[in-house]
């Protein structure tokens, strides 16, 4: 069988590993539009602050593709997909036929319309190339503005702060990490950021870029404030790279539609990772959860199904772990529900020790969790979301520091323990 994988990151790699676990014979070709070998995007902020070396960005051993018997073509952008002929054409005219295709093209950083392209000092943080540009700039810069208070914005702000820059984070809403946490948890974060000399400007947006000879000089906010800076990191989220399926009959909404087997509307074409839309267990809606862990899970399921090892995906759960400014944070699912009255909310707050825990329940089932400051046994709580477990008999224990797997064994049926022993 000819297997073609487009994209060389989390989902593509997981698919290869899943395929090769059972199938040594199929011919695998992988295309990547980036010129670099396999690396982990999530580590870029660590490299930015020199917490790790460039070599440490490497996600698998250097001989990974060789060992996995995968022909990797870097610097090849897939530009056209013919679903009838089952082939993909690249920017250099080369054509790759396939029996099974995995579209794991990932996502790209969004750039708001009012931010002009091509100004020196205006950057995104998405690829190795992006980081190299920022690293060069950091050496001459004193002030930086980060636009966007999401995960990438926070990681960028903290990394640049560690480089000794003065940082201002501009966020449109009244909080940071709005996809991950609620307003209360955000306040903890903003306070901690300020201690690291990172100022967050809430309910503010960048309205104008001021440049001289194509070099960034300052940004002007919609509040009229002019912030002199040599560096602006735009971290306004990502959008799925769905260009390849344009003009084909493959269905998409925001991302490419997939079924539980990670199959698109075409039976031999699969999608996984940031480009794919999957069922979210907590919101019970289809969504793009552009997260590393989700991409790996989806890539693995796609890989198995591509070689007809039928395996169904339980669905995604938006989840993130962030450990910056000495404040560990893990969150899952719905953390600030819009219609609060239909949810039950449990909160534990210890302001003096910067601990905040929140559990969002609906019909005695956990729909969302925030763990800030204290993250021990986080995954035990996640397993309750995954199993859609009824927690009514031990609801009052969930926020306790003593809540752990053994407590769960005590409260649950024996199958939980059997799974542990036999795992």
């Amino acid at each position: 069988m000819n297997i073609l994988i487009i994209g060389n990151s989390a989902a593509g790699t997981a698919a290869i590993e899943a395929i090769r676990r059972y199938d040594q014979k199929s011919f695998i070709i992988q295309l990547s539009d980036e010129p670099h070998p396999l690396y982990s995007r999530c580590l870029l902020s660590y490299y930015l602050s020199d917490a790790i070396s460039k070599k440490a960005l490497q996600y698998r051993d250097t001989d990974f593709h060789e060992k996995m018997q995968v022909q990797l073509h870097v610097g090849q952008r897939a530009v056209e997909l013919d679903t009838n002929q089952q082939q993909v054409m690249c920017n250099d005219g080369s054509v790759y036929p396939f029996d099974r295709l995995l579209i794991s093209t990932g996502s790209s950083a969004k750039l708001p319309d009012n931010i002009p392209k091509g100004i020196e000092g205006v950057c995104v943080l998405r690829t190795i190339d992006d980081v190299e540009i920022i690293r060069k700039k950091v050496k001459q810069a004193k002030n930086a503005v980060v636009l966007g208070g999401g995960l990438i914005g926070m990681k960028a702000a903290c990394a640049l702060s560690e480089c000794g820059l003065e940082i201002k984070v501009v966020v449109r809403s009244n909080r940071v990490l709005s996809q991950m946490i609620d307003t209360e948890a955000s306040q903890f974060y903003i306070k901690r950021l300020l201690e690291s000399k990172i100022e967050v400007l809430k309910q503010t947006d960048v309205s104008e870029i001021q440049s001289k000879k194509n070099k960034l000089m300052a940004v002007k906010t919609d509040q009229g404030q002019v912030i002199p800076c040599e560096l602006l990191i735009v971290a306004k989220g990502v959008q799925p790279n769905t260009e390849l399926i344009q003009g084909t009959d493959i269905k998409k909404r925001r991302g490419i539609e997939t079924n539980p087997f990670m199959q698109t509307s075409h039976k031999n074409i699969f999608a996984a990772g940031d480009v794919a839309e999957t069922f979210d267990i907590t919101t019970e809606e289809y969504a793009v959860n552009a997260l590393w862990t989700c991409a790996v899970q989806q890539g693995r399921i796609a890989g198995l199904n591509m070689i007809d090892k039928t395996s169904a995906y339980d669905g995604t759960i938006g989840m993130n772990s962030l450990n910056v400014c000495g404040l560990p944070l893990i969150s899952y699912g719905i953390t600030s529900p819009k219609n609060e009255s239909t949810y039950q909310i449990l909160v534990l707050e210890k302001r003096e020790s910067a601990i905040y825990k929140k559990i969002v329940l609906k019909d005695h089932r956990i729909k969302g969790i925030i763990l800030l400051g204290k993250i021990d046994n986080a995954g035990v709580l996640l397993s309750l979301i995954q199993r859609k477990a009824d927690v009514s008999s031990f609801e009052d224990e969930l926020l306790s520091d003593q809540f752990n797997f053994s407590k769960l064994v005590g409260y649950s049926d024996p199958s939980v323990f059997e799974k542990y022993q036999k795992c």
Binding site: C42, R300, L322, E418, K422
Partner: protein, 163 residues
């Protein structure tokens, strides 16, 4: 190499925490209890005795000596953003490469057993490694009641465990 697993037979576990001490010592610099206590990076156990229940029921104070299960499809290996957690196909062990760990705690985010913990001193994730320098893990050797056993994975039968 055979694929082995540590099993805790709850009906025999006293909760004496000998396993914790043995584990911490084994993972210290000196591997000697007296010296281990004075090491600059205080050694921490990768096994933890947890209380299953403290109220009601026929067994009142049952304990579980909990450690990493080295899962077949390890969620931690899938979640690790640096590629620092990998399953050794020969031994079946799931290993954390401390050189690659960036302390993002993604593994803690997904481990359904809470078997991965932060090593505050080293700022690294840590968990059971089945004591690579020993034939039998230190916790198993130290268990005074033989509650902990180290046995072949495929010999473990569901139903053998009394809760």
């Amino acid at each position: 190499m055979s694929m082995k697993q540590i099993i805790c037979r709850i009906e025999k576990c006293l909760g004496c925490r000998s396993c914790e001490l043995a584990c911490a010592v084994e993972h210290s610099q000196s591997k000697r209890p007296v010296d281990a206590m004075h090491e600059p990076v205080f050694p921490k156990p990768r096994i933890r005795v947890e209380l299953i229940d403290e109220k009601g029921g026929a067994h009142r104070y049952r304990t579980l000596a909990l450690q990493c299960r080295h899962c077949e499809d390890a969620p931690c290996a899938q979640a690790c953003i640096s590629g620092g957690i990998c399953k050794d196909e020969n031994t079946g062990d799931v290993r954390i490469n401390p050189e690659k760990c960036v302390a993002c705690w993604s593994c803690i985010m997904v481990c359904p057993f809470g078997a991965i913990v932060k090593h505050e001193g080293l700022h690294r994730a840590m968990k059971c490694d089945h004591c690579p320098d020993r034939e039998t893990p230190a916790c198993v050797d130290a268990c005074p009641t033989d509650a902990l056993i180290y046995c072949e994975r495929d010999k473990i039968k569901i139903g053998d465990f009394i809760l």
